[in-house]
């Protein structure tokens, strides 16, 4: 169905609102394919049609929600009844309600590429096969490829509410990913994973993905457990995006208002190095996180987060923005199957003056270049800020890359990581996650490995 057809389904439910009732309906429909190849053959080919509907009802400040994975008319009708029933049991909150139009003009961004829809099945398979081939043939030390995959999706989304908001959009995306295996002489296996995403297949670089996966795996061969001690961390744009994304996850209005963020009450304070400036900018058409409207139908807009180390503010959806008295920042994220909540769409970190990636390596006396971080969900507490994650990478000694390391962790807190940024590179890179960031150096991090 077209975005307009989905919008008419959403609007038809909204039209049933009673006099004192607010209703918001999100509807989506899409199709996707996923190809996985192994040893030059198709391991699996998945062809999928998906649809979904989410109905939010607010009566007298009480909110109820219901969702379904189908747009069958009788199910759509039953979800409205179910959401109404759920609302009856919630407690009233004067700030609850759908988003109200705030006059901000939405930017027009074309997220759709016909190229994805028109792509031939064989071409998808060929892309994944080629990715696997390039990895296998790149280096004699590559012992296998766990999986090489191509995926794409084309989906439409519509949202309507009793506040008069109507938004509809459609978007395409595609991706490739591969995990390379490299065997050590002692029988130990190292892995290298690489991934790329774009709006259309022409934006994917198979050679780059293959090269990164191979490099990460073979460069870890012979890795040992390092000595415990204090080091600097060098994060390339991919790893920097991961770490700063965790920080930005604590800068959301719900965490602030519910007193679950280490940064609450600190607007205007120096929370990071003066070298750090970052903001959320879903209006950047080059970001894969770009969109014209947020998950409640308000216009997306840039939101400053940290300027020269000083905390500017937080990301808000309608409810939390009202409660905080600052209004929504157009930062509501949602699928059709869940309630909206504030979050990061397209984090941007400004380039620094510390030069290229190689310049950053050259500036470090004792450090770790990070290849991968493990246990981000279990080792980072977004409330206390405690940070302890597994790391694989290479030591940096006297400005040069040195031996590979593994079976070790790096520890700090989210608060300290921001303050300990000692250099920001000039190499701003747009990443599949929607983040654009340069490389970062973070000093004074505890590397835990062999007995000190």
């Amino acid at each position: 169905m077209s975005p307009e057809q989905l919008l008419s389904i959403a609007a038809s439910v909204v039209d049933q609102a009673g006099p004192d009732e607010q209703i918001e309906v999100a509807v989506s429909q899409g199709r996707s394919t996923a190809v996985r190849v192994y040893e030059g053959q198709v391991e699996s080919f998945t062809s999928a049609q998906t649809e979904g509907l989410g109905v939010r009802v607010i009566v007298d400040g009480r909110e109820g929600f219901a969702s379904a994975g189908t747009l069958e008319p009788e199910v759509v009708a039953s979800m409205l009844a179910e959401a109404r029933d759920n609302a009856a049991f919630a407690e009233a909150d004067e700030f609850a309600g759908v988003a109200q139009p705030d006059g901000v003009e939405a930017v027009s961004i074309n997220l759709w590429r016909d190229e994805v829809v028109n792509m031939d099945t064989q071409a998808k398979i060929d892309l994944a096969v080629e990715l696997e081939r390039q990895v296998r043939e790149a280096d004699d030390r590559i012992s296998g490829v766990r999986t090489a995959a191509f995926g794409d999706s084309a989906a439409a989304f519509a949202l309507a509410s009793t506040s008069g908001i109507q938004a509809a959009t459609r978007a395409t995306s595609c991706s490739v990913g591969v995990e390379a295996l490299a065997d050590d002489t002692d029988g130990r296996t190292q892995t290298g994973y690489a991934f790329d995403a774009a709006r259309a297949p022409s934006g994917l670089s198979v050679a780059d993905v293959a090269g990164r996966a191979v490099g990460n795996a073979v460069d870890l061969l012979g890795s040992t457990k390092p000595d415990t001690g204090t080091v600097s961390l060098l994060l390339d744009p991919r790893q920097a995006a991961t770490v700063l994304g965790l920080v930005a996850g604590t800068l959301t209005g719900d965490r602030i208002l519910k007193k679950r963020s280490p940064f609450m009450g600190r607007v205007g304070e120096q929370i990071g190095s003066p070298l750090l400036t970052m903001y959320d900018d879903p209006t950047d058409p080059d970001s894969l996180g770009a969109d014209s409207h947020d998950g409640e139908g308000l216009a997306c807009r840039p939101t400053p987060l940290v300027t020269s180390g000083s905390l500017d503010g937080f990301l808000y959806d309608a409810y939390n923005g009202r409660k905080a008295g600052v209004g929504s920042t157009g930062s509501a994220l949602r699928g059709t199957r869940g309630l909206p909540g504030p979050g990061l769409a397209a984090l941007h970190v400004d380039a620094g003056s510390s030069g290229s990636f190689d310049d950053l390596v050259g500036s470090i006396d004792l450090g770790v270049l990070v290849f991968s971080l493990a246990g981000l969900h279990s080792g980072v507490n977004p409330v206390s800020g405690d940070f302890s994650v597994g790391v694989e990478g290479r030591m940096i000694r006297n400005g040069s890359l040195a031996e590979p390391i593994g079976e070790c962790t790096v520890g700090s807190t989210l608060q300290r990581l921001l303050l300990d940024i000692t250099a920001v590179g000039s190499d701003v890179t747009h990443l599949p996650s929607g983040v654009s960031t340069p490389s970062l150096v973070i000093g004074d991090v505890m590397l835990s490995g062999a007995a000190a």
Binding site: F45, S47, F65, R188, G379, T413, M446, S448, A450
Partner: protein, 465 residues
């Protein structure tokens, strides 16, 4: 099940999917209903409900799988998906094979009190009680979240080998999380309970005790000091420590990873992969546990599988594809997140069998180390064997005594090495809290459990020198 598909249609879908000469076809129909109550920041934020039903159709030709899924359960919808899966499998040849599935093996779940029979106000009262108890526990508790949810998952699986099976799975969950505020910032504590049972979950778990436990964990950590950095002996308490085995070797014993050379345990069958104190079992038949089911998501009965016996690797875990390839039976470990996902080898309830040692003596035998009372999640690189897992409640051990609480941090080790370094296993045993295991983007409910155990050295990822 609520959604009924006639056997005649099942046969037609399976036959259509086989057209062109595929080796195997399967239809998986799923109907899931969920309800949840969320309390946060002192009030009932919302109640949510969801309904998901659909079918996934899988066609296998040699090592190639074609898969299509649809939310349209009509005859037209299912046959269209069958043709899409067939085309996706790109099968050669032109054979026609009629499929006839056998009678349904019905396996009703043992649920005493159906959650959908309980009115919403009763569920609301449970989360309210947790909030009140936790806040009353200590003035330093500054935030409380409480969540109730239940889900009923009815499945039907039929395949061209003649299997036709159904299952009716119910899970009920309750969780409390607290934030405590002190001079050194915020700390968190949580407690969760979840079983494959209905509302009788609350006959087994007292809300009051759960809320107090969550509050006490957060309060204790206000006095915590940074965890040490480097290598130390570690004692892991009973229950949640099961995540160590889930990560250290569980994933590495999944046959799909083994086959691709992506497991540190490949080519190790029959060899001593762990200390003689280690007997590890994966058991999908543990009724009422979080990872329990009657049939897996390929229609094979759940089994109790001994993976490691007295330190010797006995077997890997298998799904249908890997079992067919190896010409053996599935071990009942083929699972998928939903009808939108392909099945693969997954764990169920994984536990370490109790040993002989007195838990107090295990701790008393450590001069300088760490006692981990509660573990959070973890992650493993199955190929290298390196794994991490988070400590959410841990203490120093000094001169054989459990002493100062520690801030959160992760432990890191190498699975094959750590299994050899287990030098004591307690005679106590507990199952841990309900977990969700992630693999290749799919999450499934799993349980695990351990007795008290000791590892002679693990790397503690703290920040203290």
């Amino acid at each position: 099940m609520t959604t009924v598909i006639e056997t005649e249609l099942v046969n037609k879908v399976l036959s259509t999917a086989l057209e062109g000469g595929a080796d195997f076809s399967e239809i998986f129909v799923e109907d899931v209903q969920r309800s949840a109550v969320n309390l946060d920041d002192g009030r009932i934020e919302n109640l949510t409900s969801s309904r998901d039903r659909g079918a996934g159709i899988r066609v296998v030709t040699g090592e190639s799988t074609g898969f299509a899924h649809t939310a349209d359960l009509s005859s037209d919808g299912l046959l269209a998906a069958a043709r899409a899966a067939r085309d996706a499998a790109r099968s050669g040849g032109a054979g026609v094979k009629q499929v006839e599935v056998a009678a349904v093996t019905n396996t009703p779940g043992a649920v005493a009190v159906r959650p959908e029979s309980i009115d919403k106000a009763t569920k609301v009262a449970k989360v309210r009680q947790a909030n009140e108890v936790a806040r009353a526990r200590n003035a330093a508790i500054t935030q409380v979240g409480a969540r109730y949810n239940d889900n009923r998952r009815q499945i039907l699986v039929a395949n061209s080998d003649g299997i036709l099976a159904t299952d009716d799975q119910t899970r009920t969950f309750f969780g409390v999380s607290c934030v405590a505020t002190g001079d050194a910032g915020l700390q968190t504590g949580s407690e969760t309970a979840g079983q494959s049972v209905g509302f009788e979950l609350f006959d087994r778990y007292e809300i009051e005790q759960m809320a107090e436990a969550a509050a006490d964990r957060a309060i204790t950590k206000l006095q915590a000091r940074p965890a040490p950095s480097g290598t130390l002996p570690v004692v892991i308490g009973p229950g949640s420590g099961g995540v160590l085995f889930h990560e250290a070797c569980g994933h590495g014993l999944e046959a799909d990873l083994v086959r691709k050379g992506a497991s540190a345990f490949r080519d190790r069958l029959g060899t001593q992969v762990a200390s003689e104190l280690v007997t590890l079992i994966d058991d999908g038949t543990m009724a009422e546990e979080w990872g329990f089911y009657a049939i897996d998501d390929e229609g094979y009965p759940a089994k109790s599988n001994v993976l490691i016996q007295d330190g010797v690797l006995i077997d890997y875990m298998w799904d249908g594809n890997r079992a067919r390839d190896a010409k053996r039976e599935s071990s009942g470990n083929g699972r998928r997140q939903s009808y939108r996902h392909l099945p693969m080898v997954r764990m169920t309830n994984t536990y370490l069998a109790p040993g002989q040692s007195d838990p107090a003596e295990i701790v008393a035998g450590v001069d300088n180390g760490v006692y981990v009372a509660r573990l959070g999640g973890g992650q493993v690189n199955t190929a290298s064997g390196d794994f991490v897992f988070g400590m959410t409640e841990a203490y120093l051990i000094e001169d054989g005594q459990i002493t100062t609480p520690l801030r959160e941090g992760q432990l890191i080790g190498n699975g094959p090495k750590v299994l050899q370094l287990i030098d004591a296993v307690g005679n106590d045993f507990e199952m841990g809290p309900p977990g969700t295991c992630g693999k290749d983007g799919q999450g499934v409910p799993v349980g695990d459990g351990v007795p008290t155990l000791r590892v002679t050295e693990l790397t503690i990822g703290g920040t203290a020198a």
